[in-house]
Structures are given as C-alpha cells and as structure tokens.
Symmetry: C2
Subunit: 78 residues, 2 copies
C-alpha cells in the first residue's frame, strides 16, 4: 500500500519552486502525492495544523511534517 | 541521465528524521541520492554553502537548495 504524501502550499514563489522540484521528486511508486493550495482550500488548514504544519511550503509524509524553506506562516493564511 | 540529489545533515535528530523519511522518499529512478554528514566531512561545508545551504538538514536537488525543518545552522558546524 502506498503512503500518503500531502504537499501544502499557498501559491507563493517559494512554494512553486518546492512543488516543481521537491514534491515532484518523490517516488510515485511509494507515495500518493496530493497537492493542497491552502489559500484556495482554507478548509484544509485545520488538517495541516493537526499534522504539525506551521508554514508553507511543507510536505506531510506518512503523517510527519517537513517544512521546506519558508514561504508563509500558516497563521498568515487564515 | 539522473539528476543529483545531495542530502546534507549533521547527525542531529531532526536530520535523521528527514533522512529516513524525506531523502528516502526521493525517486531513485530519477535521482542519484548522496548523503553527506557535514560534522564528519567538514571539507564539504564549502560545497554546501556554494549551493546556497544555510542550515541542515537540507537537500540540494539539481543544484537548488531546500531546507527541511531546522536542525543546525551551517555556521555552527565550522
């Protein structure tokens, strides 16, 4: 069964770079990669917070949050 | 031809988590992944700096640096 990878972003330049390079580099044979734009899907912010995400871009791999560089704080997206 | 992915770390707990999860999640069919312990290979710190790495853990994907969470500043490893 594939693990879930959720890439959270907000459309910022730092986010776009991270998505094109890092999220895209994940092994699709092992991960179902979902990309969530928290600026457009504000209803998912609570999910991101519950997973420990503090800023975007970030990727949650099998439940564990990894913040990638820094684009925007989650609190600024509310 | 595969792109080069260099994962820089310093053996810190945050680094180990990032290596086990994120570096390990990269697609080996597309990336040659090298792991460099800057605490043990201080001679590579200049390479990391030249690639734009400011802190560890970080991964340089095809020349572009992505800082993953925060373990230690590069300046603290010198």
């Amino acid at each position: 069964m594939k693990d879930k990878a959720i890439f959270y972003h907000a459309g910022c330049p730092v986010c776009v770079d991270a998505e094109r390079q890092l999220a895209d580099a994940l092994d699709r044979n092992r991960f179902d990669v979902e990309s969530v734009h928290l600026g457009q899907e504000a209803g998912r912010i609570a999910d991101a917070e519950a997973a420990g995400v503090k800023s975007v871009p970030a990727v949650v791999l099998a439940g564990q949050p990894f913040h990638i560089n820094f684009g925007a704080a989650l609190s600024d997206l509310k």
